[in-house]
Symmetry: D3
Subunit: 252 residues, 6 copies
Amino acid sequence: MRNDGRNRNELRPVEMVTEFITHPEGSVLITVGNTKVICNASIEDRVPPFMRGQGKGWITAEYSMLPRATEQRTIRESSKGKISGRTMEIQRLIGRALRAVVDLNKLGERTIWIDCDVIQADGGTRTASITGAFTAMTIALGKLVDKNVLSELPITDFLAATSVGIDSELGEILDLNYLEDSSAEVDMNVIMTSKNELVELQGTGEEATFSRKQLNQLLDLAEEGIHTLIEHQKSVLGDWGSHIVKNLEKEG
Amino acid sequence: MRNDGRNRNELRPVEMVTEFITHPEGSVLITVGNTKVICNASIEDRVPPFMRGQGKGWITAEYSMLPRATEQRTIRESSKGKISGRTMEIQRLIGRALRAVVDLNKLGERTIWIDCDVIQADGGTRTASITGAFTAMTIALGKLVDKNVLSELPITDFLAATSVGIDSELGEILDLNYLEDSSAEVDMNVIMTSKNELVELQGTGEEATFSRKQLNQLLDLAEEGIHTLIEHQKSVLGDWGSHIVKNLEKEG
Amino acid sequence: MRNDGRNRNELRPVEMVTEFITHPEGSVLITVGNTKVICNASIEDRVPPFMRGQGKGWITAEYSMLPRATEQRTIRESSKGKISGRTMEIQRLIGRALRAVVDLNKLGERTIWIDCDVIQADGGTRTASITGAFTAMTIALGKLVDKNVLSELPITDFLAATSVGIDSELGEILDLNYLEDSSAEVDMNVIMTSKNELVELQGTGEEATFSRKQLNQLLDLAEEGIHTLIEHQKSVLGDWGSHIVKNLEKEG
Amino acid sequence: MRNDGRNRNELRPVEMVTEFITHPEGSVLITVGNTKVICNASIEDRVPPFMRGQGKGWITAEYSMLPRATEQRTIRESSKGKISGRTMEIQRLIGRALRAVVDLNKLGERTIWIDCDVIQADGGTRTASITGAFTAMTIALGKLVDKNVLSELPITDFLAATSVGIDSELGEILDLNYLEDSSAEVDMNVIMTSKNELVELQGTGEEATFSRKQLNQLLDLAEEGIHTLIEHQKSVLGDWGSHIVKNLEKEG
Amino acid sequence: MRNDGRNRNELRPVEMVTEFITHPEGSVLITVGNTKVICNASIEDRVPPFMRGQGKGWITAEYSMLPRATEQRTIRESSKGKISGRTMEIQRLIGRALRAVVDLNKLGERTIWIDCDVIQADGGTRTASITGAFTAMTIALGKLVDKNVLSELPITDFLAATSVGIDSELGEILDLNYLEDSSAEVDMNVIMTSKNELVELQGTGEEATFSRKQLNQLLDLAEEGIHTLIEHQKSVLGDWGSHIVKNLEKEG
Amino acid sequence: MRNDGRNRNELRPVEMVTEFITHPEGSVLITVGNTKVICNASIEDRVPPFMRGQGKGWITAEYSMLPRATEQRTIRESSKGKISGRTMEIQRLIGRALRAVVDLNKLGERTIWIDCDVIQADGGTRTASITGAFTAMTIALGKLVDKNVLSELPITDFLAATSVGIDSELGEILDLNYLEDSSAEVDMNVIMTSKNELVELQGTGEEATFSRKQLNQLLDLAEEGIHTLIEHQKSVLGDWGSHIVKNLEKEG
């Protein structure tokens, strides 16, 4: 039995509140268990210098934690004057993942800024950020279609993320909370589309290793979890979710 | 008539949600009109080096805005690698204000960390931060009394803050929203106790000036607003509010 | 009796040496008691990016202390690699204050750089900086009029600053020196014009509070001090002082 | 046919020169095709603060490129004053990977510093760094055994890394050079032990995705490459390689 | 004829005002032509970590220019957040030079902090800094002898510095002002004792070269200038100058 | 007898490997005894902003040490986030020295970037860097002549550097290794051309002094060493060396 009573293949309760904040083009508060992340998507009508003149768009992400998102207060990165390696890894990961399901040519010379601010942390903040950021980004792009700035939603598939890991007693488990994450032998973040296509896979045996058989068992768990997360996205996105389904069928 | 229909001496709607986040000892989401700030108070069992060995406590504050708290996305200070002058001013102001109503000797060698994170901004973020931070701090200190770590609440009076200003057409107004703040000739932040004692007064005529008569009219408005804000604090703080009232009576 | 024998409403001896340094367009060494600040004004023929194309000028200020301006050597901010919150507050204050008495439209697209370098500190360095900086700025602008670059002096009034405070034994006092400042219960910086108009008011009760009655007594003291300081400015500025007096009369 | 004439499952020529530099406890110049990395291992007789008093050791890694390791000169990170996100990711990856095959308890309170300095880059610099760093670290630890500072080599298995990827025309390929890496649809870094245990797996579809079937084909290729790399390590490490083989047999 | 009417072997007018600022243990305003530097010496009763426990003292120097010390305003290093290479070179030079004439064992575990702040620059700021810093340091150490903290002045000889250079038309010249320095083919800074011993010699042919014969002619000029500067030091130092002369005779 | 058996006027063994790395236009690994430096020269088709529009070129240098180039591991400057004063001094020295023998007008609006990366240090790293950098720069410029981008080699003379010093027992010695450098009373770096013209001379008596007679003896030693180093350059540069000899004769 897991420390919060879940089954090995059970996600924590998931909720996504849209329009959480009024200024951003897309704003989602995602809750996964006790992890809460504000995901905001902003659209800027230009691209960074290295992308100019190619007619393509860009997606970039920033990630941060409030000091008391954690049990012990952590020092602000703005006070330290630099961003930690962990933050940089997560920021790069979120941006890269979202770019995999957006047709940057159809986006045109625009930048989507994703801001993921963790207000409460209990494990899985980076995967919750990706799942919530996809939703916020879709809403922001949907508004551009509504305003006829874009003729169609340039999103090729749904995208969600979760963590899986190996516990020395329980074996493979889905969606680790902070305590589980701290004691897991293997920790893996999986980012997938609705068609079970992998977008990113990061598996780490911190002071441990894992076999290819275990890898496949972990991916089975992840697939389940990601399907559930995408169902949540669909219910929140409404018509825009249907639009993505149509995009998938067209391409199909 | 003001741009949001208020009277000149009318505060925007105020709300304080306590226990907004679970980890901090005190956590308040304060809403003043469309301004929303998460105010967290953390207690640390030691003081900074310059305070050690004096048997006294310390209060320090940090302030930040999410990038899309504002209409236009602002760059994170952690990305820029340094804190702006504006942020520093506000942080110092919050800490100084709270220290004026806490008996640091009774606090003992502890640091109260205040984190004010603006998630949505519409003017008055620094004054909302102070009003919310006072509430979060009281809750955090109240828990120390509950646990018998402190024998009494080391708070000498209520403390709240609001802005007042001079509009070229409307004259003196209370609690400026962002549009009003942008066009005001004079902008003043007032921090006061329940006994009408001033804790801090910052009046600025950006490219303008003001007379002493106008100053007194502005302070009359501010007094009204601060009394209303302190009523909100009392209703939210419950027993701890009564405890402060008793402290006031004892001191009498 | 104050620690240096002054009356409660008495300024320390004031002196302003003009042309202290040869390169700047305006250069003043201001001495207020044992506080000495070199105030230099430089004119640059362009404005910062956020001001371009508006036909208006800008005024920006920098403030620094030599390491041994103080009793104990302080570490250089250039060695620490960053500017303290205190320095930023003072820099912003000086710039804001001067902008209140300069007609930025008449200045045209020029920047006035004010550099206030404290070479000896004994309290009141920020207010001495403002009083000296106004003088240096007027000299620099006067030279532009002499060279027919500007047709008139774009200064609307004199501007000076002083500190007032509340001592637990002496009550309200004017122009605090370092020892007085360290023990004062309330510390207030007042920036005013010759017409008794307030430009900026910053009153702080560090671990104390003050009533509105006390506020008014402090402002009475400040008015007196500022009138004396402006007399010093007039005697040093000569014809340029008369030019400002005429501007005042025109405006009526 | 690949751009350098290799088969899809063929590594580039590999060479490891030991004792490349005289000062470090372990020093290896690893060459993989046209990629050349100096890998130095230093032993320090203490651990970082967060590890003290646990009787365990630590391994930390730094990675850098000479400015002209690349076709276009890149700016030094020391000149920019900060380390890029890419460098941080690689540094963290190298340290984490090596820690998975070292018994930190047997190492005792010592830190192994790994420095990977790329002097020539043609793709695969992070995986070459790991393969070379493992060799340098083993040499450095071997010397501690020789000096009887350690009673046995605290290494549980060999460790090597390579990249695999998917080319739109060639399909799955092993050990991508720079040109291949730039055009690959999927890029994966695999770190494995001699027993086919995964230590870290990082698969990324930059603007693309991959199926679980493709994942397994990529891992088949990676296994082959890693076995060859470990053979190189064994031939270079001599007796210390045999020592690791014995450790593996004991553990059985 | 030189641009200011001097002969080739003529120093500019030199003046040293002692006790220029009241807080430092030693304070000298040195004027060399239009170059003016405030040189302050502070004594601290401990040494930096790398010197502790050796019973020896240390001397360290910092150098800075006010923004308008120069014709064009320069940006403050505190604003840029880092110290330029030029500043670092000069700081290291001043400290190294002074250490050559102080018996650090006799100084005991104390640090002498030298602060050279250029308030007006017209060439030769680093050499004026050294000549002034020696004087300020001697005064500060003299006070320690007066207070019986030190039993004797731990200074082995006088120390002064000047520049020499080669002008394409005038040939070798002494004590270059800014214009001369800008056009000189060769620029050399010479630091010497009263016994003609070289302490530091930095000769640079920026886009030019110089022969050994020219080197010797430059050193002849420098010797003359340094003797004159040391006479100035003697007249300013009074008894402390005589003390150094006695130290020289004892050493014989 | 010196600690490595050399005579007082004997250089350590010198070797220069050209084309050490493939990407740079010029690449030399210089070995002087146990000191090894990779010197790379890169050509960029533009100049820094302060040089634009003058039709002239520029040469700039960067210098760094691998962490384990030294006996004790040193912290990377990229990790510290800033470049040390020592590094800045050396970088400026290398650039300045090379500019003295290049006709920047003939170079045209191009920048030569010199990167000197010390991979093993045993004293004399800055002088070895200069000797190696001259060679790498000549190769890079030679290739521009080969490609007819330049019509002739814009180099006016050979340039090499060495160190000389005074040992308390041995007296004047040439080309100090690390141990000799650590104990020398006087340390001098000499940069010269083949015609015995001095380009830069930096003599320092750290806590000691030297006479003009000693200076001349040191320069005699340096001349010898530099002639030998230039012979090495000639043998490595082949035709490009002859080209420089012709340039010298033309100028003659």
